[in-house]
């Protein structure tokens, strides 16, 4: 038996890492299409981007199914409880090695700030990227004898929205990568997402902050 508790089930881990790889790849190819970096060559970037986007949509479909069947979606319900404490932790406590105000638990994987950010990601950003991306791929050019609800003139707003979302996505990615290191230890979050298991310290005695200091990393 592994030590610790199972926080992330196998599908969740698979979903997370697939999503991570796809988003990285989509960002790379997408920003090449956008004209920001040369890598695959424009034509290849377009093809790879479209292919990866289709994979991403399939993954999203499975993830949505999983979230609802397992009721995991409730994990993302924003709450105001502890919100201020969590913010203060990132602003002050973390430097003084104060304990996390929110205890991680398989039934409470996210702290209030994470809930907010991930809910935003799931409700706004990913739908925005998926919708604008789909429109980008399948919108109609003006064709005679065709439905012309989406004309080629729509290309600009679609592309601009998609780009805007992509910038947010990259910013999220940077912050997300950094925040991995803010778990119980420097690597405990990463380990948990790889193995699924995370060790949780004993419920700290209020009068024993020294224990936390030993365990706590940065």
């Amino acid at each position: 038996m592994r030590k610790g508790e199972l926080v992330y089930r196998s599908f969740e881990r698979f979903w997370h890492w697939m999503q991570a790889a796809l988003i990285l790849f989509l960002a790379l190819t997408g920003f090449e299409i956008h004209g920001s970096l040369p890598f695959f060559g424009f034509g290849n970037a377009v093809r790879y981007h479209a292919a990866a986007a289709l994979c991403f949509l399939v993954l999203v479909a499975f993830a949505v199914f999983w979230h609802f069947t397992t009721e995991e979606w409730r994990q993302y319900l924003p709450t105001r409880k502890n919100l201020r404490a969590q913010a203060e932790y990132y602003l002050h406590g973390i430097f003084r090695n104060a304990p996390h105000p929110t205890r991680k638990h398989p039934l409470r994987k996210l702290n209030p700030l994470q809930k907010l950010v991930y809910a935003g990601l799931k409700v706004f950003l990913i739908p925005l990227m998926a919708a604008s991306g789909l429109l980008y791929m399948v919108y109609r050019y003006p064709e005679r004898h065709e439905v012309r609800s989406l004309t080629i003139g729509m290309l600009e707003p679609i592309a601009v929205l998609h780009t805007l979302g992509a910038f947010f996505m990259v910013a999220f990615l940077i912050a997300h990568l950094y925040l991995i290191t803010t778990g119980q230890t420097l690597t405990s979050n990463l380990k948990a997402m790889v193995t699924g298991y995370e060790e949780f310290p004993e419920e700290p005695e209020p009068e024993a902050p020294a224990t936390a200091a030993v365990q706590g990393g940065l």
Binding site: Y48, L155, V160
Partner: protein, 521 residues
């Protein structure tokens, strides 16, 4: 657990590969092989003209040949006389002008300007005999020149300055017995030399196409399909498909690649989607004037300089004429990237008498079209820029008389007197000349349709989809992925990423700093 993970990963990789490979492929293969086979079979004439007694006679005048032709092909002359190769004009609807006859007969350009007063020289290329002045009888069938287009002997030549009459040295009987379907040599004799020399006008039509390599043109390549002009420029009752927008304005009778290649000719659907907004030529003619240079600018205002009272020419190191006393100064270009415009198949034209603004470049023809217009596509063009003579008081372009057939007739190429050339030329088009003239900048747009490159040389994606000066950099007013971006979104996005990075760095450094301090304590 691990096995399941591996299985899932493998499945995902397979799904990704399929997603890459499948959606890009159309099931319908472009019928290239079928087309190749079609043009590999060369048609053999069903009739041997050498065996006709009518053609074995001794012809003293070319009109007698025409009579002999008509004696069997007894209705074809009427078709020819309905065609623009004969009439040099078509009834065209021109935006803002209504329905007008338009053609070489009455149009002007910014090369040799116009035929009025210059017929003996210009009309060498008329499909008729003897159009030397306006008295030419367009109703006389015997004046139709069958041989110019149907000579397959390569012996037939029209004489210079003879208004379409053949070189008197030619054995017409010999030529008449070797007639057939028009070859590239027939069409090229005129169409490759427009503007007074090889490749001067079009840039994509020149004598290298008599015997072209595959690099020059995939369709006409002698070693390949060896297609002839009339394989694409098909005709019904001698009315040819295809026309140049220097002398036509309507979206009709166009030669279209799609006729053979279909509307979705590519294997890759992303490329196919381009066909709705991008003409085939745009990607498939990466450069024109591939072998011989074409004229890009022509400044008439410097014409008329003489050395010791005599006209002269200046040639550059490559032997290309950069100045001639009779025509002025030129610049030329070779291996050129076309310019690009939106085009819906209709064009506007400057016509004699139209007022101009001498402060602005006069558009002698103009291709219409826009991004929003569903009928418009991006097409490649050659732009020919010139300075040419205009009436500074009446403010319109002048038809000068350039060709001189007899002393004192005012032809500029002999007398070098603009005053006289303008006066004589304007008489011929029934417009008054004020007596004062100047030179104004003009522009003509020539769609580039020939010299189709092989697939390997096709314009690549990033030649347009780029932030650097791409081929379409000058074509504004629409969103081109890879080229365009929203400046605010770009600034905001860059700032967002920058701030996030900065925040992470500051926060991380602070953590390291406090962690070290704690450790030291």
């Amino acid at each position: 657990m691990r096995r399941i993970g591996l299985f899932i990963l493998a499945a995902a990789a397979a799904a990704f590969l399929m997603a890459v490979l499948l959606p890009g492929r159309s099931t319908a293969q472009p019928p290239l092989a079928a087309l190749r086979a079609r043009f590999q079979k060369k048609e053999k004439a069903s009739i041997d003209h050498t065996r006709f007694a009518q053609l074995k006679q001794k012809f003293t005048r070319p009109q007698e040949v025409t009579a002999a032709c008509i004696s069997c092909h007894n209705g074809r002359h009427r078709e020819v006389m309905q065609s623009s190769h004969w009439s040099w004009e078509r009834l065209e609807y021109i935006q803002g002008k209504g329905i007008r006859p338009l053609g070489k007969k009455n149009a002007l350009n910014n090369f040799c300007i116009g035929i009025a007063g210059n017929e003996p020289s210009c009309n060498k290329c008329h499909a008729g005999y003897g159009w030397a002045d306006p008295t030419f009888d367009f109703q006389d069938p015997l004046l139709v020149d069958c041989l110019a287009c149907h000579d397959n002997s390569n012996l037939y030549v029209k004489a210079s300055g003879a208004a379409g009459m053949p070189d008197p040295a030619i054995d017409l009987s010999q030529v008449a017995q070797q007639v057939g379907r028009p070859q590239r040599t027939n069409c090229g004799t005129c169409h490759f030399f427009g503007g007074g020399g090889n490749n001067v006008k079009h840039g994509d039509l020149e004598k290298s196409l008599f015997d072209p390599s595959r690099d020059l043109d995939v369709h006409m390549a002698s070693s390949g399909p060896d297609m002839q002009c009339v394989d694409c420029h098909t005709a019904r009752q001698h009315r040819m498909l295809g026309k140049m927008y220097s002398i036509s304005s309507m979206n009709r009778d166009r030669v279209e690649c799609e006729t053979c290649h279909g509307t979705l000719p590519h294997v890759d659907d992303v490329v196919n989607r381009h066909t709705l907004k991008v003409a085939c030529q745009t990607c498939h003619i990466p450069e024109y004037a591939k072998e011989a240079p074409t004229k890009l600018t022509w400044d008439w205002s410097t014409a008329g300089r003489l050395k010791d009272g005599k006209p002269y020419e200046v040639k550059d190191a490559n032997g290309v004429e950069t100045y001639s006393s009779i025509k002025g100064s030129f610049t030329w270009g070779k291996k050129l990237k076309p310019e690009y415009v939106w085009f819906n198949g209709t064009a506007g034209h400057y016509m004699f008498g139209d007022p101009i603004d001498p402060g602005q470049t006069v558009k002698i023809n103009e291709l219409y079209g826009s991004y929003e217009d569903p009928d418009s596509k991006i097409v490649p063009v050659k732009v020919h820029r010139a300075r040419q003579i205009y009436d500074t008081r009446f403010k319109y372009l002048i038809q000068p008389k350039t060709v001189s057939t007899q002393a004192g007739d005012g032809g500029f190429w002999k007398e070098f007197d603009w005053q006289k050339a303008a006066s004589e030329g304007m008489k011929r088009i029934d417009l008054p000349f004020s007596g004062s003239y100047g030179f104004v900048n003009t522009e003509m747009v020539w769609p580039v349709n020939h010299m189709i490159s092989s697939r390997e040389r096709t314009v690549g994606c990033a030649e347009c989809h780029t932030r650097q000066q791409g081929r379409l950099a000058a074509l504004k007013g629409f969103y081109l992925p890879g080229r365009d971006y929203h400046p605010w979104v770009e600034t905001f996005g860059t700032a967002l990423i920058g701030l996030t990075l900065a925040g992470v760095l500051v926060h991380g450094s602070a953590r390291v700093f406090f962690w070290r301090r704690r450790r030291r304590q």
